[in-house]
C-alpha cells in the first residue's frame, strides 16, 4: 500500500501516440483538480509540470513502443515507478501504429517520405507489456478518464484496480439500448469488445468498432462468420477487427477468417 503520510507522486508519460489519452485526462475538469489535490503530479507535459526522470509512485503511460529510443526510455520509466499503468490502445496493444507490423514498413517510408533516412523505427510497434512489466492495463482509444481515476483510487487504497473485461454487450443491455446488430444489421464489435467506454457508439445508434480491445473469452471467429453471412467482404471484416487493435491476437483471428 502507498503510504499516506506524504502525498503520493504521479507522472504521465508519452510514447508513440496522438496525445488523445492525455487529453482525456485534461477533459476530466474537476476530476483532474481532485487528482492534483490527492497526488503530487511531477510530470504531465500536456498540463505543465515536466520532470521526465522523476521517481514516482504511479506512472500513467500513453503510447506504444515504436523506436529504439522508446524501448530504452520505457525501461527507465519502469525503473522509476512503483506502479505502471498502461493507458489507451497504443500502450495496451500497439494501437493504430501496429498496423505497420502487418506490412513492410520500410517500403512504406520510402514511398511516403522525401527523406526516409530520418525515419528510424523498430520493425514492430508493440504494447508496453511486450517490453516491461505492467501493473495494470486500461484500454480505449482514448482511455476513459474516469477509469483512470478509479484505478488511481484503488492504488491509493492499496487494492488491485478492477480489470473489467466483460463484453460491451452486457453494459449495452444495462443501458436499454436496442441492439444495432439484431435490429439494423450493423456489424457491431460489441460481442468481442471489452466494456469501459460507457457504450458510446451503440447508445448513439452506431456499431462499436472495438476501440476498447478484446474482452475476456472472445470468439472472434464466430463473429467474423456472422458478419460474413450478413454479406460483409473479407476486406471489410479485416478492417473491422484490425482497425485499432491489430496487434491483439484475439482480434487477429477474426480479421483473417473466412472466404473473400
Amino acid at each position: 500500500m502507498i503510504p499516506t503520510a506524504a502525498r503520493p507522486t504521479l507522472a504521465i508519460h508519452k510514447f508513440s501516440s496522438c496525445d488523445g489519452c492525455q487529453l482525456a485526462l485534461l477533459n476530466l475538469g474537476e476530476g483532474l483538480l481532485d487528482l492534483a489535490r490527492m497526488v503530487d503530479i511531477r510530470h504531465f507535459v500536456e498540463a505543465g509540470p515536466m520532470d521526465e526522470e522523476a521517481s514516482v509512485d504511479i506512472a500513467l503511460v500513453e503510447g506504444c513502443i515504436s523506436t529504439a529510443e522508446e524501448a530504452e526510455r520505457i525501461r527507465r520509466v519502469r525503473a522509476n515507478s512503483r506502479y505502471l499503468i498502461a493507458i489507451g490502445a497504443c500502450a495496451t496493444s500497439g494501437g493504430v501504429q501496429a498496423l505497420r507490423n502487418l506490412h513492410d514498413a520500410g517500403a512504406w517510408t520510402a514511398d511516403i517520405y522525401a527523406h526516409p533516412q530520418y525515419i528510424d523505427v523498430l520493425a514492430n510497434a508493440t504494447s508496453l507489456a511486450d517490453r516491461v512489466r505492467v501493473d495494470c492495463e486500461l484500454y480505449g482509444c482514448p482511455v476513459n478518464g474516469h477509469q483512470v481515476l478509479a484505478a488511481v483510487r484503488s492504488l491509493l487504497s492499496g487494492v488491485t484496480p478492477l480489470n473489467d473485461r466483460d463484453k460491451l454487450c452486457a453494459e449495452c443491455k444495462r443501458r436499454h439500448n436496442v441492439c444495432v446488430m439484431v435490429a439494423r444489421g450493423l456489424p457491431c464489435m460489441g460481442p468481442v469488445t471489452a466494456t469501459g467506454c460507457g457504450v458510446l457508439c451503440p447508445t448513439l445508434g452506431r456499431d462499436c468498432y472495438g476501440c476498447y480491445g478484446p474482452a475476456e473469452n472472445v470468439n472472434s471467429a464466430a463473429l467474423g462468420r456472422q458478419l460474413e453471412a450478413e454479406g460483409m467482404s473479407k476486406e471489410a471484416r479485416a478492417g473491422r477487427f484490425l482497425f485499432i487493435h491489430s496487434n491483439a491476437p484475439e482480434f487477429a483471428s477474426g480479421g483473417s477468417s473466412g472466404e473473400d
Binding site: L35, R165, D166, H176, A183, N219
Partner: protein, 369 residues
C-alpha cells in the same frame, strides 16, 4: 368481470389511471424496436406496426392496420421495471473523525401502470417474485418496484416465429397475475378484470356488453395464435434429459458459435443474476455499493478465489441451459423458460436455444409438466 371497451374509449383507460396517480408506461417504437416508454395518449402506441423475428433478427414494418398490439414482443420484458439493470444499494461516508457511516438507499418509486403486458412476461414476473421474495430473504429494491405496478395485459394475436409460449403453458393469452387483461378485436377490446382495483376501474369505463360475436372473434384469434407457434421445447421438464447428456457433442458445436456475450441472459425475463461492486470517490470519503445485471456467460459469475471455474464457453452455455431448463425445477417448481423467444431473436449470431436443447435431449424429454 368482462366488458367490451370500444376503441374510441381506449384513451379513457389511460386518463383514469393517470387520475388515480399512476405514471403510465406502454410499448412504443424506438430505435427500430418496440420497447416500454412513458405513455400519455393511445396514438403513441405502435398502431399498425408488425414485428418480424427469427433467430438473430428483428425488424419492424408498418402495415395499414389500425390495431395497437398487432405484434409479439420487443427486447425488454417487465424485468427492467422491477429488477433494475443497475442500482445503488447503500452508500458509506467517512466523517471527520475517520469513522464510517453506512446508509441504505431504497429506491423512490412511483405507482406505475403498464399497458400492453404479454402473458409470457407476467409468467416470468411471477418467477422473479419467487426469487426476490424468497421467505425471509425479501429484496426491498425489487419488492418496492413490483408492488407499485398496475398491470394491463394484452393477449397475443400475432406471435413471432420465435415464440413458443403455448408449449411452455404461459401464453399466448393471459390467464392470471394482471389487474385487467385485454383481447384486442377490430373495433375494441374485450376487457376482463382480475383484481379489486381492476374491477373498480373497469366499472368506471364507458363499456358495453360483450356479444357472442365478440367471443367468437376472440376464440378464432386465439386458436390462430396457437396454431402459428410451430416451435416447441421437447418437454416441460428437461432436467433428467439434460443431465443425462452432459457430454453430448452438441454442447461443443453450440460453443463454437456462441460469443459468450450474455445478450440471451440480459433479454431473458426470468434471468436474475447480478454482481455487486463499489465506486469510491477519488478523495476516499464516500463510496457507493451497487448491483448490476450479470450473466452466467461472464467470467465473474464463476470466479472463486483467484480462478474462474467456467473458463470456457462450452461450460458457460451448459450452465445456462442446465439451470434454466433443468435445476430451476428444483428451485422454483417449474422451468425457467416462459417461451418468449427473446434469447433466440436477440442473440447476435442467431443461436436457437430451443433447437439446441431439443437436439441435446434427443427424443427423451419428459413431456409432463
Amino acid at each position: 368481470m368482462e366488458r367490451f371497451l370500444p376503441t374510441a374509449q381506449f384513451q379513457r383507460l389511460i386518463n383514469l389511471l393517470r387520475r388515480d396517480g399512476y405514471d403510465c408506461v406502454g410499448p412504443r417504437v424506438r430505435d427500430g424496436a418496440i420497447v416500454y416508454g412513458p405513455l400519455e395518449r393511445v396514438e403513441e402506441l405502435p398502431v399498425g406496426w408488425h414485428d418480424e423475428q427469427r433467430p438473430g433478427h428483428y425488424r419492424l414494418a408498418r402495415g395499414s392496420g389500425r390495431r395497437f398490439f398487432d405484434w409479439a414482443n420487443g427486447p425488454e420484458a417487465l424485468k427492467p421495471l422491477t429488477f433494475a439493470s443497475r442500482e445503488v444499494l447503500w452508500t458509506v461516508v467517512r466523517d471527520g473523525q475517520g469513522s464510517l457511516r453506512f446508509c441504505e438507499e431504497v429506491p423512490e418509486v412511483r405507482p406505475t401502470a403498464v399497458i400492453g403486458v404479454r402473458a409470457c412476461d407476467i409468467a416470468a414476473m411471477h418467477l422473479q417474485d419467487q426469487h426476490f421474495g424468497y421467505r425471509e430473504y425479501q429484496d426491498p429494491y425489487y419488492n418496492r418496484r413490483r408492488r407499485a405496478l398496475f398491470l394491463v395485459a394484452v393477449d397475443c394475436a400475432r406471435p413471432a416465429s420465435t415464440c413458443f409460449c403455448h408449449s411452455t403453458g404461459d401464453g399466448p393469452a393471459a390467464h392470471a397475475g394482471f389487474d385487467i387483461a385485454l383481447t384486442e378485436l377490430d373495433d375494441g377490446f374485450i376487457a376482463r378484470a382480475r383484481s379489486e382495483r381492476g374491477r373498480d376501474l373497469l366499472a368506471e369505463l364507458p363499456t358495453t356488453e360483450v356479444t357472442p360475436d365478440h367471443h367468437a372473434a376472440a376464440g378464432a384469434q386465439h386458436d390462430a395464435a396457437v396454431a402459428a407457434q410451430t416451435r416447441r421445447l421437447a418437454g416441460r421438464n428437461l432436467k433428467a434429459s439434460l443431465f443425462a447428456h452432459l457430454d453430448h457433442p452438441e454442447w461443443d458445436a453450440v460453443a463454437g458459435r456462441c460469443l459468450s456475450c450474455g445478450n440471451c441472459t440480459a433479454v431473458c425475463p426470468t434471468c436474475f443474476c447480478h454482481s455487486v461492486g463499489d465506486t469510491t470517490e477519488l478523495d476516499g470519503r464516500r463510496s457507493t455499493h451497487h448491483r448490476q445485471w450479470d450473466s452466467c456467460f461472464s467470467a465473474g459469475h464463476s470466479y472463486m478465489h483467484s480462478f474462474v471455474v467456467r473458463d470456457q464457453t462450452v461450460l458457460r452455455y451448459r450452465q445456462w441451459l442446465t439451470h434454466k431448463l433443468g435445476t430451476w425445477h428444483d428451485q422454483y417448481g417449474r422451468s425457467g423458460c416462459v417461451g418468449c423467444g427473446r434469447c433466440l431473436t436477440w442473440c447476435p449470431v442467431g443461436i436457437d436455444m430451443v433447437e439446441t436443447a431439443n437436439r441435446i435431449c434427443g427424443g427423451d424429454g419428459d413431456a409432463q409438466p
